[in-house]
Symmetry: C2
Subunit: 135 residues, 2 copies
């Protein structure tokens, strides 16, 4: 794999070499999560067809779903006008993107009283997704 093919040269990375990637369910249109990619994770995502992010907390490549099985098959990759944010249309295997066991990470909505209210159920318990450890 070429270290910096033309298409990668059009991507603008932040001062840490990362950019945000939004994962959207290609069928329902639901926004499932936002995570970060570095150049290597983006290249692996594109070449392998499944989302690979960069874990800022672990400072390591994060093959989404490697433990839980909830991989994200990439349907398309789009770049925004500034070249500094990606939008992935994905098929969410297992129907769960969030480590809390919910479909989407965006499960708290601000209500009319300005309180965050959980708006969706836990589909699978995290301990079922990950065994005894988290991640």
């Amino acid at each position: 794999m070429n270290a910096s093919p033309d298409w990668l040269a059009e991507v603008t990375w932040n001062e840490r070499g990362l950019l945000p990637a939004i994962a959207q369910d290609y069928r329902s249109g639901r926004v499932l999560m936002m995570a970060w990619m570095n150049s290597e994770s983006l290249q692996q995502s594109v070449s392998g067809g499944y989302a690979v992010y960069w874990s800022r907390s672990r400072q390591a490549l994060w093959k989404k779903g490697e433990t839980s099985g909830n991989r994200q098959r990439i349907i398309s990759v789009s770049l925004d006008c500034d070249g500094d944010t990606l939008l992935l249309q994905i098929e969410q295997e297992g129907g769960i993107a969030c480590h809390t066991g919910r479909e989407s990470c965006f499960f708290r909505q601000l209500d009319a009283d300005n309180q965050w209210q959980s708006t969706e159920p836990v589909l699978r318990l995290p301990e079922d997704l990950y065994g005894v450890s988290d991640g």
Copy 2:
């Protein structure tokens, strides 16, 4: 307005006091853009009902659509599991979110030959949106 109401205390800001906010058309489900908010812009967005971002390039509050008229009326605000990313369901006035005059900022899609291809038309020329200056 209280400087740090409870709901704001649950938001996790990055080292610059910002977090990413994804704007999604509440009807079509299209992801239109991603921009940044600081505490003040989020409070103004929630209290005023229209998206206010923080312009990192201008280091100033950015009332989206103030010049172009393409304001974003907020339907709902959701917070992700880590509390560090927002998803806004919005009504995009004028039907154009992107400063290039397109509906969405994510108008370049990686094709099978790994080339970024523009996937949507310019609906209004930027000079019509902004007059002679950009912004």
